[in-house]
Each structure stands twice: as structure tokens, then as C-alpha cells.
Symmetry: C2
Subunit: 380 residues, 2 copies
């Protein structure tokens, strides 16, 4: 069973600070996890991820399976060794990616059949198969196979989907328990609570999965287009059902404000492609708001991206230089912006954690969100 230590729960909110111990190191929660879908966090080096204090990164089971197969990963001794990453890895199952293949896939109780988006080849993912693939990848935290309904979806559809997701989760757990890691470290399995925006379905999903005693619980099916208030409401509802002594992971979320609101509602772990993706598009997160560093107004700006940031980009380069790099299409521009944005998200969770431990989470959240709105008029 995963060793999760809950250090503190905020007296005024549900915000928590904890420690997740894995054989590849300890994760301090709340935590932001950079996404390295195909074994690389886009345009950021592994040593830079260490430098900005990324304590865990994501990989994607579907994408790693597609290219270039698990045999190669097994030969290399797993993904940690393949990509030279010493800290924990979490793999999502790829259910979300497969299901978005729409006409390339066929869903059944047994599993999901799909045609590769690369070469059209046919594959069949079952819960058992996913566990086998994640064993071969060697992620520290494995996610179950789930179905993530789009937003909006009819209640009936979501209800059946919750049942399917539950059955798959139980088969994943069985398969997980019956198998051993391929490499010399422990792996853990998280379940995924589904149920769309229907509280009763969310409740059923959560209660049934909690009863089965997983290592941790993710909240899936959010950040798929619903209003932010809906996301917060559902997250809040679900964390009330989840056990205190297990980590909680809100999948695919989100903006800095989303993260703080979800922490307030008892979430511990986050992942999102936003920081590097925005970085590649010259959109930069700062403590006073978002800015588009490509704007001509920054051409002679000698300030760093964010005067409060300690990343390599902010300690060495000006907005003017980074604006120049984007303007002349130099790759180094997006390297710096991606690195900075990731550091911004990681640092935001570090500061949040300290605030929780120091009994000032509410004040921290208010101050942070207020300051982040100060640049609003310059918005991208």
C-alpha cells in the first residue's frame, strides 16, 4: 500500500499538505506534475526538471505503447532508465486518448478496440492489458483504464459509463494484485472517479472505488469543457467521499486559479499541459498575471519574465531578449518560456504547501489571485 502521510489539513478549508513516498523519492503535496507524454516534457531537459524541483512527471501509456512499443522499454529497463529520470513517474492509462480517437475505436465491456492514429494498425486494450503495459513502463503510480465521457453527456450515458469504469477498475486491481513489478521497485495503482456533473453518479463511483481500497484516487472527467464553478463543485463533492489517508489527484487541471480552488477543496495532485504549451506560444505566467512576451511592447524591456521567479530564464534573460527569440523563431525562446511556466506552476504549489503548513492558506490564496489579476488589461 502506498505510503501517504497527511501532515496537515487547513483549519478553515479542506486544503491539505502531505507526503507521498515512492521508491523513486518523496512527493510533497500539493504538487504540480509536468506532463511528459512521450518520454519528454516538451523542450525541457530532464536536468532542468530536477532544477525546477519537479518531484514527479507524467507519461502516457497509450502514446508510449504506440511509439515505440513496450518491448523497447522493457529492454531499457523501463521508462525511468530509458529517459534517465530518477524521480517518480505517473502514467495515465491512455483511456482518454483512445476514446478521443472517436471513429477509430470501439468500446465494449471487455475493453476498447482501436486503430492506431499513426499507422492504422489494430489494437485491443483491456484493463488487464493496461496493467501489463504499465508494469512494463515501470511507472511508480499507475492509473486504471477508464472511460471519460465528454461534456455535456446525458445522465443515462454517464450512468452506464460509471459502471463500465468501475468494472474496469476492479479488473485492473485484480490484475495488479496478481502481478509483480518487472523492475526492482514498487508500483502503485490509482482508481479514477467518474460520473460527469451528476452528484449521485459521482457518489456511487467514489463509494464503490473507495470500498475497493486503491492506493490513491483520481477525479477524472473534469476540465473537459464544463464551467469552472461546476468543476469546483464536483471536486468538492468527491473529496468529501474520498478517504483522508489517500492522495487525491484532479486529472488535467488546470490554470493557477483552478489549482488554488481545487487545493482549497482538498485536492493534492495536478497535471496539465498548459505550462509548456502556453510557453511554446509565448504566453507566460507571472505572479502579476499572464503576458504574451512576443508583444512588441516587450522589445526593449530589461525586466525578467517574473521578478519573483528563480528559474534559469528569469535569472539570466530579459523579456526583451526572449521576445526577440520568439520574434525570430529561435527555439531557445520556447525552451525558456516552457521552463519558466513549469517553474511557475511548481513554485505555486510549493508556496501553497508552505501557506497550508503555516496556517495562512486562505490569505495566500486571496493575495495570489488578486496579484495575478493585476496584469489583466495586458492579457494576451
Amino acid at each position: 500500500m502506498l505510503d501517504f502521510k497527511l501532515l496537515k489539513t487547513d483549519a478553515r478549508t479542506k486544503a491539505r499538505a502531505g507526503l507521498v513516498h515512492t521508491d523513486h523519492g518523496t512527493i510533497k503535496t500539493p504538487v504540480f506534475m509536468p506532463v511528459g507524454t512521450r518520454g519528454s516534457v516538451k523542450a525541457v531537459e530532464q536536468r532542468e526538471l530536477l532544477e525546477i524541483n519537479a518531484s514527479i512527471i507524467l507519461g502516457n501509456t497509450y502514446h508510449l505503447y504506440q511509439r515505440h512499443g513496450v518491448e523497447i522499454l522493457r529492454k531499457f529497463g523501463g521508462l525511468h532508465s530509458f529517459m534517465s529520470w530518477p524521480r517518480p513517474i505517473l502514467t495515465d492509462s491512455g483511456g482518454f486518448q483512445i476514446l478521443s480517437l472517436s471513429d477509430l475505436r470501439k468500446l465494449s465491456e471487455e475493453g476498447v478496440e482501436f486503430r492506431s492514429h499513426i499507422d492504422g494498425s489494430r489494437h485491443f486494450f483491456t484493463p488487464e492489458k493496461i496493467i501489463e503495459v504499465e508494469r512494463t513502463i515501470g511507472s511508480d503510480i499507475m492509473m486504471v483504464l477508464d472511460e471519460c465521457p465528454p461534456y455535456p453527456s446525458e445522465r443515462d450515458y454517464v450512468s452506464k459509463s460509471v459502471e463500465l469504469t468501475h468494472n474496469w477498475a476492479m479488473r485492473c486491481k485484480e490484475s495488479f494484485s496478481a502481478s509483480k513489478p518487472f523492475y526492482n521497485f514498487n508500483q502503485f495503482l490509482f482508481a479514477i472517479v467518474q460520473g460527469g456533473v451528476y452528484p449521485d453518479l459521482r457518489e456511487k463511483s467514489a463509494r464503490d472505488l473507495v470500498a475497493a481500497d486503491f492506493d490513491g484516487y483520481a477525479i477524472g472527467g473534469l476540465a473537459v469543457g464544463e464551467p469552472a464553478e461546476e468543476m469546483y463543485r464536483i471536486a468538492n463533492f468527491v473529496t468529501d467521499i474520498l478517504p483522508e489517508d489517500k492522495p487525491r489527484y484532479l486529472m488535467g487541471v488546470g490554470t493557477p486559479a483552478n489549482l488554488l480552488e481545487a487545493v482549497e477543496r482538498g485536492v493534492d495532485m495536478f497535471d496539465c499541459v498548459l505550462p509548456p504549451r502556453n510557453g511554446r506560444n509565448s504566453q507566460v505566467f507571472t505572479s502579476t498575471g499572464k503576458l504574451n512576451v512576443r508583444n512588441a511592447g516587450y522589445a526593449d524591456d530589461e525586466a525578467s519574465l517574473d521578478s519573483e521567479c528563480d528559474c534559469y530564464a528569469c535569472k539570466n534573460y530579459s523579456r526583451g531578449y526572449i521576445r526577440h527569440l520568439f520574434s525570430v523563431d529561435e527555439i531557445f525562446g520556447l525552451q525558456l518560456a516552457s521552463l519558466h511556466n513549469l517553474r511557475f506552476f511548481i513554485s505555486l504549489m510549493e508556496q501553497t504547501r508552505l501557506a497550508i503548513l503555516n496556517d495562512r492558506f486562505v490569505e495566500f490564496k486571496t493575495e495570489t489571485l488578486t496579484r495575478m489579476n493585476s496584469l489583466k488589461k495586458e492579457e494576451i
Copy 2:
């Protein structure tokens, strides 16, 4: 006058080892200079350039002038400060780039009028203007404005071109002598020997420029399509005329073999876009030859790109992983290949220098070229 110390000339060839002192540090020659046309060596960070021991990099006067103008560079205190690069910078004048604009430019004795390749705006570069721009960039080594005739060119054309290049060089020198650096460090001026593949024109160009006593001498107009043997013959001919006590720079050259052949003929400095450009295309230089790391045959190869290389890519990642990165279009792949290729070229010149100092340049060159051919059958 530039402080160049010739430490040793090989007893059996014209190969030399020396030291070029600038206010931004000492350059050990022979040296390979990475090209950072627009204030960035593509996909490689400044701290990585330090790490792979780049002792000097290039910038391009034309491109920096085009985007985004010298006023910004002046505001930032010059290119060193703009791009946070603490070591020497050499700027080529951009003559080569302007002249390749063909129908966008008009050449006269006075200078060259051109329309911007970006926005069509009209500009006039004279020798005096180039010096002013290079003063504003603040490069340690400034190149004169020259005309670089294409290959092949008629003797008559080249003859007139040599005259023009000489007149421009003299005006550059006058303007250089009459002006002072904008920033608190010294700048130096190199002349460029032209004359195509015509020995008598090369001789005239070289003798006249030597008489004018520049800080160093470049050999321009080579590596423009002529056979390698022709390049070696002309380089050899020109270095016989150039003074012993000034550094010699062969512009835009070249492959590892080109470098070794030119060192043998008395050249000290090189620049070329080949290492990062090839790297971006997954072509990797190694001590046993070139390989295309994207080839499927490397998919499960656990070896590093080059077992003898000390770069970050080779110390941490396998060919299999780097092949995967290229295959799934991850930017990190080209970052690693660019970094490695640059380190390969820099290291080649470091080893060459040691060989010269240890009286074994000829043996080193033969061994190195023989080993580099061993992978030939796998050639790209």
C-alpha cells in the same frame, strides 16, 4: 592591436597552436566557433555553450540589424549583455547574407543598397555603417564589409570584386580607427581575403590587406561550392602570405575533415552552421563517422551517440532514446543532437590543439580521419 600569441607551429606541417586574448576571455586556437546568427545558437542554451567549452561564438551583423535593430542592442549594453554571453563574440558583417539577397540588393563602390527580406524596407550598408553597427553590437572581433563572389565566377568579375573588397576594407579600417567602442571593452577588426580560386587575385588581396595591418585575417569566398581540394589549395596559398603573428580564420568551413585539412594548412579559426543544422536533422557526428540517429536500427541501441564524448547527451541518453525523440517529434531530440554535434566539433579542435602541442598532429589527423571513415557504410 589584438594580442595573439603563437605558441607553436608544427615541425612537419603548417598547423599552429595559439592564444587570442580578448577582454571577454582567451581563445585557444585552433578553435571552432558555434554560429549564433540571431543571438542564439539554435536549440542550445548559453550555459550549455559554456559547458561544452565554446570559447567564442558568432553573431551576424545583417540579421541582428534587421531584427530588431541596433537601438535595442545599445539600450541593453550590447549583444553580450542582451544574450547573457560572457565570452568573446565575433560578428561577420553580413555582406555574404546581403549579397545573397540577389534581386533585393544593388552593389556600388559606395556600398550596398538592399531591401529587407523581412518587410521590404530599404537600407544602405556602407563600410562606415557596418563599423557603426558592429560597434553597437559590441562584438570582440568585427569583420569588415566584403563582397563574396559566387562559385564559379569569371576572373574579370572576381578581379573587380577584390578591388572593391579592398577599398571597403580600408574604409572599414579608417572608420574603426576613428571610432571608439561604445562599451567598456576593446574591439578588434579582421580583414577578409577574397579572390575566388585565382591565386594571383588571392595574392594581391592578401598582400594589400597585410600591408594595412589588421588585427587578424579571414579567408572568405571558400566553401561556396568549389571542390574541397580547391579550397585546401587556396587556403594553403593564402596562409603562406599571411603574417605569422596574426590569427587566421577560414569562414564558413566546414566538415571535420575540412577542419583538419585546413589546420594542416595553417588556419586557426573556423565557424560553420553544420553541427547544429545536422543535429536538427538527426544527423550526428561521432568519432567513428556520421550516423542518422533517426534510423530504425537505433531503436533499441543502448549505446550513447559517441562513446568517447563527454557531453550531456552522451553521458545521459542512449541512441535508442534520442531516436525515439526524433521519431515522435520531441524538441528535446534536436536539442541533444545539436548540443552533441557542437561538442564534437569543439572537442575535435581541442584534441587537434593538444596534438600540435605534443608534436603528433600528423598522426592524430591520420588516425582521426581513418576512424571517422569506419562507419561509412552506415552513412546517411
